[in-house]
């Protein structure tokens, strides 16, 4: 017998769950003060997330998918990306979208059931959230192909969940990205649960990163609750993609501390002991412990931040609530570049009916 190929899957972690370095930190963390914007973004995101859930509970927001516990992934990936790169997010990436410049008011607009929330004021080339799981993987191939064809130094960043790795679109996209050596980074938010299905029922694979091997591209695993590690591996993957080195699959191992969405109750299928174990590994406290330990973050800083974040979220809620409701004719706007003549009567119908109902 001859071994014709063999592979290894790398795992990267810099801070353990107590926030203590497990190895020398990379240059991005050489100056701890450079980590403070990431910490602030993570706390703001978590504050927003809690508010969004509260707004749903009081009937002001529709079904909302929390990202509780996955803030480090968002901060690390978002901070490594350039503005001209393009994000293709799943629906669980509100925190990452915030890093891209999508406003809190826009996020609230979308999740309250209003298309205007996907008309981002910043990140104008980023895709809207993808609800049909894994479809964004194929879109990312097309986007990255466009960048490569035009010789633009841009990278498409596709974020998907662990459940998405069971879908054909994920494999089709991974395979094609390898064939054309595209400037594309796939990031798996492996939060261990796809609604009620745990990872062990999703795949027999030891890691999700190894799924890259069959596609002939690089795959690696990172501690998704360690923002330093996430940004480090993401930066390497982006640099490689930008310099014609081809695609990378990053599996960020994290945990869904919330329900799947506000329409779900995870206590029906998840052992509370498992949940409490994972609270000990969550990313926000981990980074705060590190920053506090190295003297870059004080109790006063923390108190100020915990005052500032709810104020910013409250201001966003106010701005969102001041947006007038969509008009009935909005259904017909942007359906096509210009409304076909045959649709004009239906538009009039909607206007008349809207006037009666309004």
């Amino acid at each position: 017998m001859t071994t014709v190929a063999s592979f290894q899957v790398r795992y990267t972690q810099f801070l353990d769950q107590r926030g203590e370095p497990t190895q020398p930190l990379p240059p991005l963390a050489a100056d701890p003060s450079r980590l403070i914007p990431l910490y602030r973004a993570m706390v703001l995101a978590r504050t927003f997330d809690a508010k969004a859930i509260a707004l749903q509970r009081t009937g002001k927001l529709g079904t909302y998918p929390s990202f509780l516990g996955q803030e480090a992934l968002a901060a690390g990936v978002g901070n490594a990306m350039r503005p001209e790169d393009v994000l293709l997010p799943s629906y669980r990436e509100s925190a990452l979208m915030m890093m891209r410049g999508v406003t809190l008011a826009e996020l609230l607009t979308y999740w309250s059931g209003d298309e205007r929330g996907s008309d981002f004021s910043a990140a104008r080339s980023d895709f809207p959230v993808c609800i049909t799981v894994a479809a964004q993987c194929c879109h990312a191939v097309g986007a990255a192909y466009a960048f490569k064809l035009r010789n633009e130094p841009r990278v498409a960043v596709c974020v998907l969940g662990d459940g998405a790795t069971s879908k054909g679109d994920f494999y089709e996209a991974l395979n094609a990205a390898g064939v054309w050596a595209l400037p594309l980074v796939f990031v798996i938010n492996n939060n261990q649960w796809a609604i009620s299905v745990p990872l062990a029922l999703q795949t027999a694979a030891r890691t999700l990163a190894q799924k890259a091997i069959a596609a002939g591209i690089d795959g690696e695993q990172v501690d998704g609750n360690d923002v330093i590690a996430v940004q480090h591996v993401m930066q390497q993957a982006l640099d490689k993609a930008r310099t014609h080195g081809g695609p990378t699959l990053i599996e960020a191992v994290t945990y869904r501390l919330s329900d799947h969405t506000t329409a779900d109750d995870a206590s029906r299928y998840r052992d509370p002991k498992e949940l409490s174990e994972h609270w000990a590994r969550e990313p926000v406290l981990r980074l705060r412990n590190y920053l506090t330990h190295v003297g870059a973050w004080s109790k006063m800083d923390e108190e100020a931040l915990l005052k500032e974040c709810p104020e910013r979220v409250a201001a966003a809620v106010e701005a969102w609530q001041a947006i007038p409701p969509p008009r009935p004719e909005a259904m017909f706007e942007h359906l096509y570049a210009s409304l076909p003549a045959s649709l004009a009567p239906q538009r009039s119908e909607a206007l008349q009916s809207g006037a009666r109902n309004g």
Partner: protein, 326 residues
């Protein structure tokens, strides 16, 4: 000017648009080196290079999905699905993404892509190669669905489809690929979408059809003329959005209408036209609207497909039947 076939007209339109607009790319299975299994893309890769004429991995969902990604990021992809029965794997991307990208981003992003596919039966092809799935796409808001019925219309409509700012499903009747030849000028001779074409004028009955079935419909019209019945023949061409005005105007004149299509009858696109006639043209009708279609059966394999397809004899019988209403 040399006469060319419908598939040659498709090839010519693709080449014209690739030459005119560097954002146009062609992708699909075997479209590059091989020039396409029906030869629709022959010579394009030699002329425009491998980067713009891509042989994709064998993955239809990928083809449609990456066309969405390309279109959103400023390219003008023309994606080929090799055979009609393979198109179902593209539906998530076409229905959930291509058709609504503009709407769901309030116009921030759009999806100017063309999905080309052979369509329909009659060439003794293997299973899953002879489907008529136009009605499935025609029910999706935000799409355009275009079916050419001659080389000149294939050329002119494809030019416009590629230039259209929104997604277009372009279904090419396989049976017509090499059935007829026609002179087609290789100029900027684009034809309008969203309108029907009146191919033959007549005062006694309106025959409405699209794609390959128009060939038999036109033959039926000639036979009817010999029997003293003058049929007006309308090529719907763009099924969605539907130009009902042209059909209503014709039926207003003739008072009679037979709709001919290959696809199965129930919820076939003929039902939409018949419903519109009932809503808006009832008072001009002298006879019930008739539909002559494929049966509500699975598309049969080669040995029975001629029994399934609506042929000239069946069309004539349908017309004679509605002519009996005084």
């Amino acid at each position: 000017m040399a006469e060319i076939t419908l598939v040659e007209a498709v090839n010519r339109a693709l080449a014209y648009e690739m030459q005119r607009d560097p954002a146009v790319v062609v992708l699909g299975e075997d479209v590059g080196m091989n020039g396409g299994v029906f030869r629709a893309t022959v010579g394009l890769q030699e002329r425009f290079g491998k980067a713009r004429v891509l042989d994709t991995p064998l993955a239809e969902s990928l083809i449609a999905g990456m066309a969405v990604g390309m279109a959103v990021q400023g390219l003008r992809p023309v994606a080929e699905i090799q055979f009609s029965g393979f198109i179902y794997a593209t539906l998530d991307h076409i229905v959930n993404h291509a058709s609504r990208m503009r709407t769901r981003t309030r116009g921030r992003l759009s999806c100017p892509m063309v999905l080309r596919s052979p369509s329909g039966g009659g060439i003794r092809a293997p299973e899953h190669h002879s489907e008529s799935n136009e009605a499935m796409f025609a029910t999706v808001p935000g799409l355009r669905v275009v079916v050419p019925s001659s080389p000149a219309r294939a050329y002119g409509l494809l030019l416009t489809a590629i230039r259209d700012p929104d997604p277009v499903i372009f279904l090419e009747p396989t049976r017509l690929y090499r059935l007829v030849k026609q002179e087609v000028a290789d100029t900027d001779d684009a034809l309008p979408l969203d309108v029907c074409f009146t191919l033959r004028e007549g005062k006694d009955v309106t025959l409405v059809s699209w794609g390959a079935a128009l060939h038999e419909t036109l033959a039926a019209a000639e036979a009817l003329s010999n029997a003293g019945i003058e049929a007006e023949v309308i090529d719907v061409a763009t099924l969605k959005p539907l130009d009902m005005e042209t059909i209503l105007e014709s039926v207003g004149k003739t008072g009679r209408c037979v709709i001919v299509h290959e696809a199965a009858r129930t919820s076939g696109f003929g039902a939409e036209i018949a419903a519109n006639l009932a809503e808006r043209g009832l008072l001009s009708l002298l006879a019930p609207v008739a539909r002559l279609t494929g049966y509500d059966t699975v598309m049969p394999l080669a040995r029975l497909e001629q029994q399934y397809l609506p042929g000239t004899i069946r069309i004539l019988a349908a017309v004679h039947k509605i002519m009996e209403y005084a």
